[in-house]
């Protein structure tokens, strides 16, 4: 197996184009597991850890441009104010070691339905910036990025450059159910973002469908019912109805981690609680 180690973004894109058999590796926390289990035998590894451009974040037009190679540990310490939902999700990833190595770009690359970065990116309406040497850069709305179980919209010659996430204009929540209290793959996960500027609601569901997905009908329902102007307390019945709509948007399966029925049930509870917390935060902020 060859080991390619570009030191710049252009070089990385060139290698990607030249070696279609090369597997990009960022933190390696998914890739090394795959190699260990002999699930993949790539002709080469394309190590992205020396590409400085990928390890930086900046703010452009009210949105954070988060380099694909920024690890979770930095999202938590550097971006909890601008991207609270993503930072909350980052806190739940693996163990401290995994949070130091693992990256949001790698999470997107793997595109697992259980990837914890995905629900908050969906709720925030993020866009994935991808690039190729031949065609340059394009942006993909994150909801269109996930194309199937562990499949994404990346072309063979493309790399993920960054993800663009609007700086939070309102409260965000992320909730993840697992059967132990740390270091666990989610049984179900839910992210919520309130966008008071647009009087809109964003959602993201994890581990309860072939891909991470939004609950558009629930979003519109809640956005329409919330008392944006008066900021009256959220009625319990409304929170519950929202929860049920989120659960209805999922299409979960039974597996060794949990039953489909539990996944649906837990999503309804998480969505209800998250909506209540977020709305209370908004009222307090007013």
């Amino acid at each position: 197996m060859d080991f390619l180690q570009p030191s710049s973004w252009d070089e990385a894109l060139a290698s990607r184009a030249e070696r279609p058999d090369a597997l990009p590796i960022a933190g390696g926390t998914d890739v090394m597991v795959e190699l260990n289990f002999d699930r993949r035998r790539p002709g080469a590894l394309l190590d992205l850890s020396r590409v400085d451009e990928l390890r930086a974040w900046s703010v452009e037009d009210g949105a954070v441009r988060l380099g694909a190679g920024v690890p979770y540990a930095r999202v938590i310490t550097e971006l909890a104010d601008r991207l609270p939902g993503l930072a909350m999700a980052a806190r739940t990833v693996g163990s401290p070691q995994i949070r130091v190595r693992g990256t949001v770009g790698g999470n997107l690359g793997s595109a697992s339905p259980a990837g914890d970065a995905h629900p908050p990116l969906l709720a925030a309406g993020a866009e994935v910036e991808v690039a190729s040497a031949a065609r340059g850069t394009r942006r993909i709305p994150v909801a269109e990025f996930f194309t199937g179980v562990k499949r994404n919209a990346l072309e063979p010659d493309e790399l993920i450059a960054a993800v663009h996430v609007r700086t939070a204009r309102g409260p965000q929540q992320f909730c993840k159910v697992g059967t132990r209290n740390a270091m666990v793959i989610s049984v179900s996960a839910f992210a919520l973002a309130l966008h008071p500027d647009r009087q809109a609601v964003g959602t993201g569901i994890g581990s309860a469908a072939p891909t991470p997905r939004r609950a558009p009908e629930a979003e519109e329902f809640l956005a329409g019912e919330l008392d944006w102007a008066g900021r009256a307390a959220l009625p319990e019945s409304l929170a519950r109805a929202f929860g049920e709509r989120v659960a209805a948007a999922a299409s979960p399966i039974d597996d060794v981690r949990g039953t489909a029925a539990y996944r649906r049930h837990s999503l309804a509870v998480l969505a209800r609680r998250a909506a209540t917390w977020a709305w209370d935060d908004l009222r307090r902020a007013a």
Binding site: Q173, N181, A182
Partner: protein, 761 residues
């Protein structure tokens, strides 16, 4: 830099928390485990395993595998020179499957190659033609007439029948319960590993992580068709065992490959293979009934227990013995009727695991005690205290308990410990069920408290000739007295090496004690299981030291011209009745070494009556109680264990830190079974053979513990010791399960308790 010495200087003798010699190495990652074994010019062995739970092997074609460059041997059942059979109690398990495979993961062929990856790729090119057969995977069907037969001779491994008192008892209060326990894995951190080195005499030297060298040796000899002198075993660094290393794993395989290739062969499982490479804890289905007076005093107990032994016998018969003979808990019960069954299925083989049959039973009898408490209107603590054993009571097999049985006191101790404070208004996420998963800020969270108590047999029971051998030498080397202790006892992480040192220091008065590697050059030490090594090998080391001391003092008496009575050893000196120094050890011994080898036995135990299960089956009982406090998010079914406190009688704490370590670890393991640890098997296939989905408790799942250690010396045991390792694993889980039931007011008759059970989804 200067360092300051804090605390008291340790004596390193018994009762002192002497430092373990492997401690620093282990925490710094420098300890050499069996997986670190290395030999120049060694080759690697890998195992090809069956993908089917039940199939006939039509043909095995190894030609393609043999052509892979770097491959030095490919072996199948035909290459086993001795008997193709092994097993702890019955040799019913093939070294390599011959005609049938009986569980998913059963070894079928072996490959040796110059690189493990080469060996794996070659193994993938072995063509095994299977005829898949219907599999028996529901143990409840195993004894049906039309069930597939796992072995000729039927699917029953053992039926233990226990009868005592009134055959048709009645009582004013009757409670009953069905309970189910899932399959737990030992999940030792160091997977199976060994290195076999062919020797010039045509024999083989095997370095391996195991629990009992001599029982391994016996089985390997049978399979290799070699006498014991030719098959020598040395213990390699063991990374935990918990019963999972009682059966053979790489042992015979590595030896076969080494003898065939003439090269040292290393075999080392990864985590996934480890899940297939050792036995698990038996899943159990149990039906229990208690009859009692209106005040809760037990009148009778009935129990029916079914243990799934999987495809081979392993230690199922002994586990059934425990589940039957000890399965009603530490309670006085005048009339009992117990039927415990162990059966064959095409599921993964089950065998020994810490707590050995008592763990499963305790979930049932403790849940039922809570039912009884509720039915008669007393507290869970009171119901257990009212019925709990005291010294002098007879157990359900009629055996008189002839040392401390402090059931009531243990419960009182845990009940009297302060309860954790209630959750504050705005709790830290880390203190809530779900933790940083941010699933609740307090909504839906209910607190529950649960109690459980247990007793466990220490040492081997039912008439087994249970002994250990110790060789101790005392000599003066470069002016310093050195004691050397040699046993075949497996240190598996529990601290036995330290205990041996402490005993030798205590008995011989010397500072320096060298414990040489455990191997088969000395007699058997018995198994590192049944919480028995400090008792039995400790007893053997003590006896060997006493023999050495007697011999040395006799020499001194002759040399000094004094009566031997009144002489003693202290440090490097022979001292008189008032401690006065009479001679240096060097003067007495010169260049001679005094060496004694002693085979030491505990009091005999006896087989039980096959019809009634009555008899003095056990040598010692150990008792422990737990109180668990949990917060349960009843809407999501998530659990946070807030406190898990315990009291245990250890007879005598030889090494108090090690005792508390055993209790912490054992408690965590029991809690793991109550809440998350399960090998999920569907239609004979293991669905979660990895630590991604076989969940072990993390530091956020395990609360800090309060541990009350009682020391009621057992007058029949060396130093009064009582086995420590297993009881905490038995009583912690049922206490956690009880606390969860209390928190969510649901019956919850299965462990591990899943969020689905709590939420009814």
């Amino acid at each position: 830099m200067t360092t300051t010495q804090t605390g008291v200087r340790t004596t390193g003798r018994i009762g002192d928390s002497a430092q373990r010699p492997d401690g620093t190495l282990k925490v710094t990652g420098e300890f050499a485990y069996a997986s670190d074994l290395w030999h120049d010019d060694m080759v690697w062995g890998v195992t090809l395993r069956s993908p089917h739970p039940h199939a006939r092997i039509r043909r095995i074609d190894v030609t393609e595998a043999l052509t892979v460059p770097g491959v030095s041997a490919v072996l199948t059942a035909d290459d086993v020179p001795g008997e193709n059979a092994y097993g702890l109690e019955h040799a019913d398990q093939p070294v390599l499957a011959a005609e049938f495979v009986r569980y998913e993961g059963e070894p079928v062929a072996l490959v040796a190659a110059d690189h493990p990856e080469t060996a794996r790729r070659a193994a993938a090119r072995i063509r095994v033609h299977y005829e898949v057969l219907p599999a028996l995977t529901d143990p409840r069907r195993a004894l049906d007439d039309d069930a597939p037969q796992v072995h000729p001779g039927g699917n029953l491994v053992r039926h233990l029948r226990l009868r005592r008192g009134d055959p048709e008892p009645t009582a004013p209060v009757v409670v009953s319960i069905d309970f189910e326990v899932g399959m737990q894995d030992q999940a030792f951190l160091g997977p199976e590993s060994g290195l076999a080195v062919p020797a010039e005499d045509g024999g083989v030297d095997l370095y391996v992580a195991t629990q009992w060298l001599h029982v391994d040796q016996r089985q390997i000899c049978l399979a290799l068709g070699m006498p014991p002198e030719k098959v020598r075993l040395t213990l390699a660094g063991v990374g935990g065992a918990f019963g999972g290393r009682e059966d053979l794993s790489v042992h015979v395989h590595a030896c076969l490959l080494a003898l065939r290739t003439g090269r040292p062969v290393k075999m080392s499982y990864g985590r996934e293979e480890s899940f297939y490479g050792h036995v698990h804890r038996h899943p159990a289905t149990m039906t229990y009934e208690f009859g009692a007076e209106r005040d809760g005093t037990l009148v009778y107990a009935k129990a029916r227990t079914l243990l799934d032994g999987g495809a081979y016998a392993s230690s199922t018969a002994a586990v059934v013995g425990n589940a039957g003979l000890l399965g009603l808990g530490p309670y006085r019960i005048p009339s009992v009727a117990v039927d415990a069954y162990g059966v064959f299925t095409h599921n993964p083989p089950c065998g020994a695991m810490r707590g050995f049959g008592c763990v499963q039973a305790a979930f049932a009898h403790e849940a039922l005690m809570d039912e009884l408490a509720a039915a008669v209107g007393v507290s869970p603590v009171e119901i257990r205290q009212r019925n709990g054993f005291v010294e002098g009571d007879r157990t359900v097999t009629g055996q008189v308990i002839d040392s401390a049985a402090p059931v009531a006191e243990l419960l009182q101790r845990v009940a009297d410990l302060p309860l954790p404070s209630a959750l504050p208004e705005r709790p830290d996420l880390l203190d809530l069920p779900g933790a940083v998963g941010n699933t609740t800020h307090g909504e839906g969270v209910h607190r529950g408290v649960g109690y459980a108590v247990t007793y466990k047999n220490i040492g081997f029971s039912e008439g087994f000739d249970d002994y250990s051998t110790a060789r101790v030498r005392l000599q003066v080397v470069a002016g310093e007295a050195v004691a050397t202790v040699h046993t075949a006892a497996a240190e598996v992480g529990q601290g036995l090496v330290t205990v041996q040192q402490q005993i030798a220091r205590t008995e011989l008065g010397v500072e320096r004690v060298v414990v040489v590697p455990a191997d088969t050059a000395v007699g058997s030490a018995g198994s590192t299981s049944a919480s028995r090594q400090t008792y039995v090998t400790g007893g053997a080391v003590k006896a060997a030291c006493e023999a050495v001391r007697t011999a040395v003092l006799q020499r001194a008496a002759v040399a000094l011209g004094r009566p031997v009575a009144g002489l003693a050893l202290d440090g490097d000196k022979v001292v008189g009745p008032s401690g006065e120094v009479l001679a240096g050890l060097g003067e007495v011994l010169g260049d001679d070494a005094v060496e004694e080898t002693v085979e030491w036995r505990h009091r005999p135990t006896h087989a039980v009556d096959p019809e009634t299960g009555q008899g003095d089956a056990h040598v010692q009982f150990a008792f422990s109680a737990h109180r668990a406090v949990v917060d349960v998010d009843t809407e999501l079914g998530l659990v946070k264990v807030v406190a898990l406190d315990t009291a245990q009688d250890v007879g005598r704490a030889i090494n108090p830190d090690a005792v508390v370590g055993q209790i912490h670890g054992g408690s965590a393991q029991g809690m793991g079974l109550a809440l998350m640890e399960e090998v999920v098997v569907t239609d004979g296939h293991v669905r979660n053979p990895s630590f991604t989905d076989y969940l072990l408790p993390t530091i956020l799942d395990m609360p800090p513990m309060r541990v009350e250690v009682l020391e009621y010396a057992d007058p029949h045991a060396p130093y009064g010791v009582r086995g420590v390792g297993e009881p905490p694993t038995i009583s912690s889980g049922p206490a956690v399960a009880a606390a969860v039931r209390a928190a969510c007011a649901k019956p919850l008759r299965r462990v591990p308790i899943r969020p689905e059970h709590i939420t009814g989804t």
